[in-house]
């Protein structure tokens, strides 16, 4: 289950939903909004997504993880819209019989989501400027 949400993510409820009698391990990852990037003070950020394709590509990443790793369940929720420092931006959770597969699948999903899913981050800096980030993590000129 891959979900884009414009509402705060309820990590506790998502974790509970991974429970299964066959699962002996649960690994979750939380990506939080931090107050700095590339040496600049960040005060907030926005996520924009191409929602239909982001949903499909996110679902493909989860399906790949289900196929590649011996896991029971896997879910990912990514925020859209305006976020403040400390907010939960992305959540990945995996349950599995054993911990090795759960760790590996969780790592696979967050790495692939960051690489492939059409979501963009616009950082708002303490000095009033802002910029859209790209894979080298530097803002592109012209972001407003």
């Amino acid at each position: 289950m891959f979900v884009l949400s414009d509402r705060p993510i309820d990590a506790a409820a998502l974790t509970r939903a991974l429970a299964h009698a066959a699962a002996g391990a649960c690994v979750t990852f939380e990506g939080w909004v931090r107050d700095h990037n590339a040496g600049r003070a960040v005060r907030a950020l926005d996520y924009q997504a191409y929602e239909p394709l982001a949903g499909r590509e996110g679902a493909r990443v989860l399906a790949e993880a289900m196929q590649q790793f011996a896991i029971v369940d896997i879910r990912c929720v990514h925020r859209t819209g305006a976020l403040a420092i400390g907010d939960l931006a992305v959540w990945v959770g995996v349950s599995a019989a054993h911990r090795d597969a759960a760790f590996a699948a969780c790592r696979y999903v967050i790495d692939e989501v960051k690489k492939r899913v059409p979501i963009w981050k616009n950082e708002h800096y303490a000095d009033g400027e802002s910029g859209w980030l790209h894979p080298d993590n530097t803002p592109v000129a012209g972001g407003a």
Partner: protein, 79 residues
Amino acid sequence: MRYRVLYFASLRDAAGCDAEEVGSASRDARALYDELRGRHGFTLSAERLRVAVNGEFAEWSRTLSDDDEVAFLPPVSGG
């Protein structure tokens, strides 16, 4: 041909809109991007982008049809 073009992130800011209807003689995705890059002054070259047609990733050489929805996708930065 008429296309519906979607913009995201820095391309959206540069175009000044999230989507537009475009009448164009361009017949494939790369030619359409290059045409619109000239019109809107996009700094990103096609090599740094991906393109999606009708909600699915496509090759830049993809031949476009009337009423296709074409999305130009800057390098992603989720997570």
